[in-house]
Symmetry: C2
Subunit: 219 residues, 2 copies
């Protein structure tokens, strides 16, 4: 057989192999889509089942003074985001509720419910993350109605806590919609803290009197 | 009512709140365990369903010369691990098969099947990752029976490709069992390349004659 004929036969065989690989790959892709769909259905089911428990837990937690600020300060990563103004304001944070969208895949929101306070008028601040069909994330946040100049300008010099990230604060994170697809703070709340916030509350190692978190009753 | 009595009532209420939060949290934990178990069952089911397709795809790919070395060189991250000795040896790599353990959660192995070659005797090199109940990962690898001094000592100076990680090579990755819980190369193969290797093979942008990947027939 001539060399040219042998090469043409090899190329024909390889072309067949590529087409067959493509067909098998289509089968694999379909199985992967089915698997993702079934996993999503499990996540949707359990999201519904958790709701009454989350509501009850949120109601109970709202009776514990300084619960959420304590949780944030006890979290090794989250605590580095907070500045000293945050500590004063977040004393008034009564509820943190993470609500996944019903279909799970299109996103979630985090609701922060506050007592009446001297800082802003809003009762509830919401940061919402939305993911579209092309997996792009966008983000919207409640406009905070500040009662005075403090914290409402981008030029604010927050009083820094030691070990905190430069220029970061809870409220600068909250109002930032620039990088919704890589929101570390939001993901820590949703995937870590909100799973079991009580473990972080109970992780406090300092005596309450030494804690810098606001006024404490004399023991 | 005296201040002391009021404080004691508040403490009693808070103690009750903590106990109730603990009970609700137990419910949530149980739901999370159920969800994880159901998701695992979906993954186990589809792992089984994929097997005949993976086997067929592997057989077809073994007919394509230089398939896997092309895939590795076309992958932006993986290609940075390879050195020039790897390129020569990996011409002989005929199959790459990722096999998850049947229960999924206890780990997986990657099997590299080679043609007869001048470098080592083994037909199949396997790197296996095992995860125990405490989520600790260990790793074992086939001992390579090198045919000569090249590549078998830790003092080997590999001929470097431009842009590669210092001192890294496919074979140094393969034999390394020091950091099994954070094996980036293994995870790229399992979670990225093995899903659809054909897309990486076809991503080659250079003409085959200009490709540094070994001998090519004159066109
Ligand atoms: Ca809650
Ligand atoms: Ca394969
Ligand atoms: Mg108000
Ligand atoms: Mg052999």
């Amino acid at each position: 057989m001539s060399a040219t004929k042998q090469i043409k036969i090899d190329e024909a065989e390889m072309q067949k192999a590529f087409e067959s690989i493509g067909q098998v790959q289509n089968e694999i892709d379909q199985l992967n889509e089915q698997a993702s769909e079934e996993i999503l259905q499990v996540e949707q089911k359990f999201n519904k089942l958790r709701q009454p428990n989350y509501k009850k837990r949120s109601d109970l937690i709202s009776k514990i003074p300084s619960f959420w600020i304590s949780v944030f300060l006890n979290h090794p990563q989250l605590s580095t985001y907070l500045d000293q103004d945050d500590e004063a304001i977040l004393q008034h944070l009564k509820r943190v509720d993470v609500e996944e969208h019903e279909d799970i895949k299109s996103g979630y929101r985090i609701k922060f419910t506050f007592d009446q306070n001297n800082y802003f008028d809003n009762d509830v601040l919401v940061k919402e993350f939305n993911i579209n069909e092309a997996s792009e994330t966008t983000c919207k946040t409640t406009a905070i109605r500040w009662k005075n100049e403090a914290k409402n300008g981008s030029n604010k010099e927050g009083r820094k806590r030691s070990h905190d990230n430069d220029n970061s604060s809870f409220f600068s994170w909250f109002s930032n919609t620039n990088n919704p697809g890589a929101d570390e703070f939001g993901e820590i709340i949703k995937d870590d803290i909100f799973v079991n916030p009580l473990q972080y509350y109970l992780a406090a190692t300092t005596d309450e009197d030494e804690n810098s978190v606001g006024e404490n009753e004399e023991e």
